[in-house]
Symmetry: C2
Subunit: 321 residues, 2 copies
Amino acid sequence: MNDRTTVASLPTADDIRNAAARIAAHAVVTPVMRNAALDALAGAELYFKCEHLQRSGAFKFRGACNAVWSLDDAEAARGVVTHSSGNHGNALAVAAATRGIPAHVVVPEGAVQAKVDAIAAAGATLHRCAPTQAARETACAQVQADTGATLVHPYTDVRVMAGQGTAALELLQQAGTLDALITPVGGGGLASGCAVMAHAIVPDLRLFAAEPAGADDAARSLAQGRRVTDVVPDTLCDGLRATLGEPNFAALRQHHVEILTVSDDDTVAAMKLMWQHLKQVVEPSSATVLAMLLRHRGRFAGKRLGVVLSGGNVDLDALPW
Amino acid sequence: MNDRTTVASLPTADDIRNAAARIAAHAVVTPVMRNAALDALAGAELYFKCEHLQRSGAFKFRGACNAVWSLDDAEAARGVVTHSSGNHGNALAVAAATRGIPAHVVVPEGAVQAKVDAIAAAGATLHRCAPTQAARETACAQVQADTGATLVHPYTDVRVMAGQGTAALELLQQAGTLDALITPVGGGGLASGCAVMAHAIVPDLRLFAAEPAGADDAARSLAQGRRVTDVVPDTLCDGLRATLGEPNFAALRQHHVEILTVSDDDTVAAMKLMWQHLKQVVEPSSATVLAMLLRHRGRFAGKRLGVVLSGGNVDLDALPW
């Protein structure tokens, strides 16, 4: 993390609106889907923001694209680099391709093969490393030293958070009045960007995030009032294993985002329900939100809920049921 | 088949436009999806008409809904009956529910369990029978005798064909100028309704249908100039096992629909590609069309192709790969 100024700050609502304009030529305005069967199961009105239909198959393209197109020409020419278990790496590779600049992606061992393949297919240079935070950062630093590429952190980068916040901007425009907005939370890029944007539009909107019980560092961090960084993730939600970032933690506190944890069993059941009824291929991380709603049915009864489906990059040969 | 007048005739373009008006309050105007990765694989521009997002998860709702709302009140009160391996039965059950009338569905043994469950969930009365055409028709006739219900044949009923043709009407409105329209073909309800409608709008539009090689009675019928009815279906495309109907055969001949057969292996590979890239849960029957396009890549190079994705009712615990 060589750019402390960038890393430490949060995006403003204007940053997010600017990001929306910056990525408009490249990103998909994803549809919002409704489903009567899932509404009945949840006992609420669900507005699914379909980020699995975003370019690269995940919301991550928003942030990556905003970062790539925020660079000046000299920076851009040296390329971008990141570490990612999958979706952010893929998104950065696709985003870099929209500007014709090099992308380097540090991929930890154990990442979902379908995601690694997609990163390579998008034209990025892959750099393998051990599956630890330290190894990821060391490998990234090496690529930066070798190439002069700009680091685009998956979730602490302010440009990335701003890009992710555009999902909430669109959803609130598309769905009309909502009682609450719900995202999954891993590193917190999506949850924090959406929190900033949502509260700028609807100051009293209730905000929730679903987190796997086996990677509940965000829930613990908010409960303890300090960032808990020693949770060893044990969840099949491969997109939510990252440790909550510093600025992301600050955003979740500031915006009173309530985090509810879900078991992997509940997530897999919810994922099947979404495939069956919505007919959408969403990845486990995306299903945490429905799992949460079904587990806490009473709390959300009759509400109009905006739900961000984060991605749809699944290894079809290794489904979790 | 107690209503020979209804069975023997083909819908006109006006019948189809009337059907569109009749079902408008109940059916979904399904989206048309594009996908860069699949376009690149096919070497053509593909416009996917997403009937897996139709009510009941298949285009079948269009025809069933048109039939149900074509009945006069006295007929309607006695209910409707059909035999179906799945999607039509489910569609008729859901359509009957929109009018609050009884639905009876004769289900042959061996039907996909997820589809049978959906029929029951929609409130229809199930009647089991052996998996032969004769057993289906006998059981239907018994229900008609017992209840006075109106038979709604899955594909030879003119009201059903008219309803299915509304998919082509919408697609041609949504996608703009196309070089060809492609559907799967089983009993021929979709292919015939779409052929009538498409040629009424664009008289020289090329029409194709994809058929499983293991249930190629339609291809043989067109090749031999007479309806071949002795093919014993052997395909995992459970929606395409029916024998081409008499009026459907007439429509396919009249409209010069060219049928190309596909192997189940190609269909499964195409289905995976669609799940992976489109992120849509489509059933094997829907994937026959992409399988056909990939197998005959040269013939369709550079063309703008309308492709009807017929349904998305899949048993997620028994995927074909």
